[in-house]
């Protein structure tokens, strides 16, 4: 393992210190906890959004704390859900009296820990609502699984529900729009190389030189299958096919596109993918209202990318395009 770290056990703590030092105008630390909140938290009279998950997905989630997106982010150990006491502290620190929406990705550990935190907050008379993001079409959504995974499409939930909360909407309204995003967002990814969790010290899986993993999650967990590497265009088309087959995207629809890097893929390659995605959508008569290309939800130094497509209506479009000002997402 070759990493720019001190001790593996100190990675999350030292990262959080670095985040706060880099962005004091946006965020502050909840002392004694692995929690980052807005510098002006709690914001009175506004529904607050808290998200989080394992560390290693930077800039998710701390990078999206700021006006128009999250109010608080909870950092678990690398690739491990944060514990309920940490989530509970985040909820307490951001509650401005109008309630708190927890944005959870659909992993068993995240769901359980956030559920327990919600129970703790409710016992404190803090109004809490939860949504669970499950955008990954690689995973069969059947009664035989715990549902689909939540991956990069979660960024759209943060953006749109965050914008809704900024309008002064109620907790029910913010939750409803978050659920609308979840119903309309689909993603799928591929990996060219594994990543190494610092505490583990070795890669979480291995791939042959010419092999790629299709449909893996954002924690280095295996995907649906392995295959020989294909061109960027073929790979993009393959992922997009699965996404388009999953929800009714038809000519005339408007969508937002997110080409998300997993940590070690250069922007050059992400743009190459985006070119093909735009071309295919154009052929199908699907309008692109907004495209985002970059590292939004990474998996440490994994090489690869995911494509997310969000089907928009007038409300979602307006909220997507609304301003946001956070360390990792600025839009005017």
């Amino acid at each position: 393992m070759k990493k720019v770290i001190n001790q593996a056990e100190q990675v999350v703590e030292e990262m959080l210190q670095g985040v706060v030092l880099a962005h004091p105008q946006y965020v502050k630390r909840v002392e004694g906890f692995d929690v980052i909140v807005r510098a002006n938290a709690p914001v009175a009279g506004k529904v607050a959004l808290v998200s989080g998950g394992g560390s290693g997905h930077e800039p998710s989630h701390g990078g999206f704390v700021g006006r128009g997106m999250l109010d608080g982010a909870v950092a678990g150990a690398v690739f491990t859900s944060p514990t309920p006491d940490q989530v509970y502290e985040a909820v307490k620190a951001v509650d401005g009296g109008k309630g708190v929406l927890l944005v959870i990705k659909n992993y068993t550990g995240d769901v359980m820990n956030f559920d327990m935190a919600a129970e703790m907050a409710e016992a404190d008379n803090i109004q809490v609502a939860k949504v669970v993001v499950n955008d990954d079409v690689a995973v069969e959504n059947s009664t035989w699984t715990t549902g689909r995974r939540g991956i990069a499409g979660t960024v759209f939930v943060h953006k749109i529900a965050g914008a809704k909360a900024e309008t002064g909407a109620s907790l029910e309204e913010v939750k409803a729009v978050a659920e609308k995003v979840i119903a309309n967002v689909r993603s799928m990814g591929m990996a060219l190389s594994p990543c190494t969790v610092p505490a583990a010290g070795k890669p979480s899986f291995t791939l042959a030189e010419d092999e790629v993993e299709i449909g893996m999650g954002i924690h280095g967990e295996p995907g649906t299958h392995r295959e020989s590497i294909r061109s960027a265009d073929e790979t993009a088309a393959h992922l997009l096919d699965k996404i388009l087959a999953d929800i009714d995207f038809t000519a005339g629809d408007e969508v937002a596109v997110l080409i998300n890097g997993l940590g070690a893929t250069p922007l050059m390659e992400l743009y190459v993918v985006n070119r093909k995605v735009a071309e295919i959508l154009g052929e199908k008569g699907i309008q692109i209202a907004k495209t985002y290309v970059g590292n939004y939800m990474t998996s440490l130094e994994m090489a690869g990318f995911s494509i997310s497509l969000l089907k928009l209506d007038a409300e979602l479009k307006e909220l997507l395009l609304a301003p946001a000002d956070t360390p990792a997402f600025v839009q005017f």
Binding site: A77, T80, S81, Y107, V139, W144, T146, S204
Partner: protein
């Protein structure tokens, strides 16, 4: 079996040692079908639990187990933190105020722990989880108890049943947790949670066998 305060702390220490010793093994099992952190997470919790127990020399067994459960919940994270944490919290209730345990109490503790895992994980046996080790272990334990076997023997039979449960998890598809996303690809691999449960049970059995 008589477990005075210090032996109870030593027992918790022995279980923690077993988890730490198996850190890499559990993580490698998880890498095959999950996200490669089971051993790392449990070891982090085990170290915290050992420190907590050592700092509570006057606690009764119930109080020790409650502290263990809370410590696991607040240090482990992932799915195993809430699951094992809930299990220890639930097991604490029948042991409240006790400084020694008999077979009947251990039975109540095991039953409560398993119910806690079911409630928290919304899982049942046959889904490639820790329940596939713990439920057969419980049944074997109760059978031994009903046959009026000594407690250590009941525990030995329970551990053996848990080991067979782990073997069974190699033959089935995961339908809970991150391994469920793999579907058929999860077959052939033993479940990390069932394995860690068995390691803990084996450590308890071993400790009691050697206890004076």
């Amino acid at each position: 079996m008589t477990l005075l305060n210090n032996p109870a702390i030593a027992l918790i220490g022995a279980v923690a040692d077993a988890i730490v010793q198996n850190k890499e093994f559990l993580t490698s099992l998880d890498a095959a079908i999950g996200d490669a952190d089971h051993g790392i997470n449990l070891s982090r919790g085990a170290e915290a639990v050992r420190a907590k127990a050592a700092a509570s020399p006057n606690a009764d067994i119930g109080a020790l187990l409650k502290a263990t459960g809370m410590t696991l919940i607040s240090t482990v994270g992932g799915a195993s933190g809430p699951l094992y944490g809930t299990a220890f919290l639930r097991a604490a209730a029948p042991a409240q105020g006790k400084t020694a345990l008999d077979g009947e109490t251990v039975k109540l503790m095991l039953a409560a722990a398993i119910q806690g895992i079911k409630d928290r994980g919304k899982a049942t046996r046959g889904e490639k989880t820790m329940l596939d080790a713990l439920e057969p272990a419980f049944e074997a334990f109760v059978q031994g108890l009903e046959a009026q076997k000594p407690l250590v023997e009941c525990l030995e039979e329970a551990t053996e049943a848990a080991r067979q449960g782990v073997e069974f998890t190699k033959t089935i598809i995961a339908t809970k947790g991150r391994a469920s996303y793999l579907g058929e690809r999860s077959k052939g691999h033993q479940d990390p949670g069932a394995t860690s449960s068995t390691i803990m049970l084996a450590a308890i059995t071993d400790f009691c066998r050697k206890a004076p």
